[in-house]
């Protein structure tokens, strides 16, 4: 659960500002086209996308080669692949677009004239983010976060391909339990995952009223 939470936080930090930027600064006619750019990675099969991270992250891979040539490191980093870090990188690379999509939808709940008022009144950017964007876009941000969290917890491919000792998730445990014909364990893991998801959705609904996500459409 730890690396799933870290993935959600990193995805939010990297992806949400893009959603805000697209909603605030890009002309409305072009907004969907920019968001469509983030569908590009999904044009490639998920297995290939995750597998293709191996040559990038491994000892003689792209990251190490570039860092070595730039003189940042003197010997290749071996702690990226087959570690929890590798799984986190894989999760962020796989699920980052979802926080952009969710953030983009969430920002629909923030009327554009509010930003103009904030700009006119000279509100600092961090106050606009904390006092205006976060409270209004909270349901969408939460929905995106839960989506990434549950996927990170359940997709067995990621730790299977990029992980190693100490880098497992619930999906991999369930898959291995099924392969070992230990169905009760697999069912217990699945039940815990479902309960976690339902619990998270309940908490989110109590805190942010998740039906607000659909309110701009209604």
């Amino acid at each position: 659960m730890m690396h799933s939470s870290v993935s959600v936080v990193i995805s939010f930090i990297v992806g949400f500002p893009i959603a805000v930027f697209v909603r605030r600064r890009i002309p409305q006619i072009a907004q969907h086209r920019v968001i469509l750019l983030f569908i590009l990675p999904f044009m490639v099969s998920e297995v290939i996308r995750i597998f293709s991270l191996r040559p990038v992250l491994q000892r003689t891979g792209l990251v190490n080669t570039v860092l070595l040539k730039m003189g940042v490191i003197t010997e290749p980093i071996t702690a990226i692949l087959y570690t929890p870090l590798g799984v986190i990188i894989g999760e962020v690379m796989s699920f980052l677009p979802f926080i952009v999509f969710a953030g983009f939808l969430a920002m629909e709940a923030v009327p554009k004239h509010i930003f103009e008022i904030c700009d006119d009144l000279g509100a600092p950017r961090h106050r606009v983010f904390i006092d205006i964007i976060l409270p209004l876009a909270a349901p969408g941000i939460f929905a995106g976060g839960v989506f990434i969290f549950v996927n990170s917890l359940g997709v067995a491919l990621l730790p299977n391909i990029l992980g190693g000792p100490g880098a497992v998730n619930a999906g991999l445990i369930a898959t291995q339990a099924i392969a070992a014909l230990d169905f009760p364990l697999a069912m217990a893991v699945s039940a815990i995952m479902m309960t976690t998801l339902l619990g998270l959705l309940y908490i989110g609904h109590r805190l942010f009223d998740l039906t607000r996500i659909l309110s701009p459409i209604n």
């Binding site: 983030f38 003689t60 700009d119």
Partner: protein, 62 residues
């Protein structure tokens, strides 16, 4: 840019960041494609351009 308050360079930087994130997401795929044109395969010291691997999949002659 939809208002008069943002500087053009800040706007351009945000565009650059957005495109950089998209490029980073696609980078592993591009890198695998780059490797697929190497005769010696992944991790080889020398890069020798070839279409051999594609020739194996799509045989040109009979």
């Amino acid at each position: 840019m939809s208002d008069d308050y943002t500087s053009i360079w800040s706007y351009r930087l945000k565009w650059l960041y957005t495109l950089l994130v998209v490029f980073t997401l696609m980078l592993p795929v591009f890198y695998v494609m780059y490797i697929s044109f190497n005769k010696n395969g992944f991790g080889a010291r020398d890069y020798v351009f070839t279409l051999e691997w594609y020739g194996n999949i799509f045989p040109i002659c009979c």
